[in-house]
Amino acid sequence: MALQSLDIKRRSATTTPSPQVRQTLEVAKLIDVSACIGCKACQAACMEWNDIRDEVGTNVGVYDNPSDLTANQWTVMRFNEVETADGGLEWLIRKDGCMHCEDPGCLKACPAPGAIIQYSNGIVDFHEEHCIGCGYCITGCPFNVPRISKKDGKAYKCTLCSDRVAVGQAPACAKVCPTGAIQFGSKEKMKEYAETRITDLKERGFDNAGLYDPAGVGGTHVMYVLHHADQPGLYNGLPKDPAISPMVSVWKGVTKPLAMAALGAAALGSLFHYVMKGPNEVSKELEDEMEREDERLRAQEKEDVK
């Protein structure tokens, strides 16, 4: 029996492993950018299901609204007008949001035990009750996804609707997607399906169509089918080879044991030094000298009084 409703694979700021024995289904969401019409139904469903509402903003000269991810907007559509070599136009629309990395930078960076959880099905979830609001998850994320709420100072992002997945349903965005550009299922099935889409796209002249499942973060549980998999940057700067920043790896990797060892050594070294060498005390001669001087001065004072 487990306490939690989904098996946990990893939790933030925890040095011992979570129970690992049970093997559960690895899930994934596949976003077929070639079928996405940018209708934002996923955004609406996300807001509705998760009980979040962003502010009514302004138009800043693009269709992207809200114009960025926020603590109240866990997914946004990124619209890019790209001119092709033959004078044509492509309107590339990418649904942005948490990629649910197999090797999540946020979880690695998070200092609060249990604030970030990776379930054994691959979902990376934030537990705001444990979140301390430090923002290290933002520092750790290779995709610039988590956002701190101005209301409560906690970090929020897509949960892949862990509450729905836990009861056997698809995430709200995947269920709602009118064109089926968002699919949900086992990661294996998603990859199989992606292959059929890539074949179709290649037949339609997109020679570089491919799957975006970056190895640098151990693969992701949100994947893209891209018409131009060779240029992910066209899709609003999707990183080509994302990985946890080496800075973050150093910070949350080797630094920890080394620093602990160094500080431990310093403390223990001091202790043993004290034990072995004893204190550095004032020499007996000087003490005696000062004692004598004091005696002399006291005697002098008495005479002065008389």
């Binding site: 939790r11 862990s162 836990a166 202790l271």
Partner: protein
Amino acid sequence: MNVSRRGFFKVCAAGMSGSSLVAMGFAPTAALAEVRQFKLAHTTETRNTCPYCSVSCGLLVYSVGDGAKNTKAKVIHIEGDPDHPVNRGTLCPKGAGLLDFISSPARLKYPEVREAGTNEWKRISWDEAYARITRLMKDDRDANFIEKNADGVTVNRWLSTGFLAASASPSEAGYITHKVVRNLGMLAFDNQARV
């Protein structure tokens, strides 16, 4: 501070045990993690149809309360009906936002009247609304109804009041509207089909 050698040992021991406690007793291994409670668990599910465009997607409307006498149903969530052969559970951004339509602050709650020349709404009862509206209708109909045209042909029409019918109300409402409106002799009668 004059710490004796013995005193120093005491401090060290305390420090050691303290950090051991930190490392073992208070160590954060038991931080609980559970997904959010599935919010539809015991809601009432009602089959409905999206009121927006004419794809007419199937909806599942979830409301709190189980229909017992002492509960008042309140819709808390709407999603696509997976059985529906057209939308198959999907919705568009409008359909996915329907919850906020039902609970929009712009929803009208009471009959109101804006009297001629004034600048505000005044709440009235349904009875008053019906009485005043039908009085205005009857006076206008009685005064302006055309039984025969200039050529003496029976035309039985009422042109001085018009009616613009809905586009999203059920067919049953449309039918009764047509029955009532045409029966009064109205011809200035139209719906949203043209726009």
